[in-house]
Symmetry: C2
Amino acid sequence: MTEHDLTARARRVLAECRLLAGMTEEPGGITRRFLTLPVRDVHAHLSARMKSLGMAVRVDAIGNLRGLWHPPNAGMRRLQIGSHIDTVPNAGAFDGVLGVVLALELVETALEKIALVQNAREREPMALEVIAFSEEEGVRYGAPFLGSRAFAGSFDPRLLALEDADGVRMDAAVRAFGLDPEAIDEAALDPKEVLGFFEIHIEQGPVLEAEDLQLAVVEGIVGQSRLAFRFTGQANHAGTTPMHLRHDALAAAAEWIVAVESIAGTEDGLAATVGKLDVQPNAANVVPGAVELSLDVRHMSNLTRTHWVRSLINAAQSAAHKRGVEVTWSENLDQPAVEMDKRLTAELAEALQACGLPAKRMPSGAGHDAMMMAARVPAAMLFLRSPGGISHHPDESVREEDVEAALRVGAKFLERLAAFVG
Amino acid sequence: MTEHDLTARARRVLAECRLLAGMTEEPGGITRRFLTLPVRDVHAHLSARMKSLGMAVRVDAIGNLRGLWHPPNAGMRRLQIGSHIDTVPNAGAFDGVLGVVLALELVETALEKIALVQNAREREPMALEVIAFSEEEGVRYGAPFLGSRAFAGSFDPRLLALEDADGVRMDAAVRAFGLDPEAIDEAALDPKEVLGFFEIHIEQGPVLEAEDLQLAVVEGIVGQSRLAFRFTGQANHAGTTPMHLRHDALAAAAEWIVAVESIAGTEDGLAATVGKLDVQPNAANVVPGAVELSLDVRHMSNLTRTHWVRSLINAAQSAAHKRGVEVTWSENLDQPAVEMDKRLTAELAEALQACGLPAKRMPSGAGHDAMMMAARVPAAMLFLRSPGGISHHPDESVREEDVEAALRVGAKFLERLAAFVG
């Protein structure tokens, strides 16, 4: 592949993403929830491309679009490559869909390479399956990863009874799309047929930009704790209650928020966030009587995460008790970290280095389809730099040079895997 | 007055307050806004009592009920005693109205004393005017002190154009009550005719209870600054944004809230409160992008207050800047402190001591009618202990023994003033 080819391919990838962004529930913005009408348009567009590449196309029962490229001399086991095509409301043009479009570009690259070397039989080409997952964001039914759960065999049929904001049950939505909710089980992968899963995705964070890097190998998806806290003091008149007679729930919560920030800064890779806070009665002339707030803690190590969660609970108790304020909490989520496959990840790191790029490794702080797939098959993931760290926003973008780098690394990764398989 | 009389009087005061509490816009709770129907019932009840005491009764153009007791041998100048009869929504039974009922009880006490000594001519009795201010809380029109503003000659006629929640203009409400809004000016006091104004009120705070005291002489009403702050950082994904790359508006605001609490604790009599706080976007998995919050600062010294306001602004800038967060603020209120009259206040303190009580002096952290009256005539104010510091709440209460003490001190205060006038 010449540099000229690469630039042209990268531009086509960006153009494709922008074209698909026009397939939206809301003209003027990008919103494409699970199995809504614009998903049909996306399927039609991607299917046509898949077919033009000689791929066998199908849509499974949960709505994942799958294109299989199986050259005659390829082995039985295929590598799956893909990401999701649903979006958050008022999204950017690259979250998810970029990984699908890049996957198709990698198939086309592989196809052209075979054409060049078709008589050489230097190696067995490897079968590739491109997947456009139907649902990852969890917007329509409040449950994320619907597409990759079906692949992983972890789709709970009780999910089908969930209703969207318009009261449409999930099973009805599946049927309305022309699919059979009874057959979702059949989407589950047979690990014997699959070499692994490879996802390319934008970072959706500021790390690569801050380190002036284009790409990173994802080591895994961090584990996550989600807790709800309530500080209960006493609401009092702001004018008539001297400072020493107050039980100010907000002052206690504030001391704790500062402690959360400070404690999280002491542990490498630990992220702790108080994102939601509500004050009662929330009036300028009333000392706050109660504060409810959220705590989100993430780390690649489950032990480290749970250690710091305990420490942050202690800090909340300390901040509360010194003010005669009560604090209660409940844990709403304790989701373990998911590691990417060590062997595939090592190959991906080698591919970066072979392309002259630093083999930056980092965890993903957000969930991805690769997290669900990793439960069933070896998974690897490549991050592209997110300009400004911006995602889930119309300003979300990706640089053409980074798309070029991802194409180069992706092709090298497939080449290495094919050599390994062959 | 015997102890037995006192106890009976105190019980009658409490019974009267409870009876008046039944005159409410909302059965089951106490809500009595400016010139609403239950105000008529209160006027009828209090007028009857006033008349039975030989008082001349009138309602001025802003709805203040005024009863003048002018014994034949009294001088021209009268002492005004009173408080307000409007309430906050879902109020307690004593805020305001207790001061009116106590004033009537003091008139009755004075009347009985004259009867006992009527031939002795030991001193000139002093004329007393009891005022039931029509409005202090500012609930119906968002503007407080309507009654006492009229007395003070500071009633701005533009207020008459304000509309209540039902779209009723204030001038229409005044007319509907049978009063003439054009005549509000005529309610303004002629200071030559008035010796002073005396208000008895519950503390509405926890100070007296904490110090195990029944009563206090109010030195003045604290000045108040009200500011609005906005911390603007950057909303980011809680999972993908490492701690060192965040611009967390809530963490900055939290550090500042702790500083506000801590700084206020260093200055005697300073109260600083962050009572209202709103986070954007207020989602558990998003680093807060912006926080809006209120600051309320009160102190008896205007210099001290404005000094600390500047210091708290500096603290906000410091907390913001270390996180790459912007902070802006605006001052919405800068209300100077109002001192009570030194001579009347000294007489009141002497009255406490003459009754064997400590002459505790304290500022009032909340506004009162006495604050408006002080602009026109010498004013003094007596606080009664608020059990639990509770006010503006159905649980608001007052102890019978404290009402007894207030009656004893009030009678002594009037006696001292009469001697002084005579």
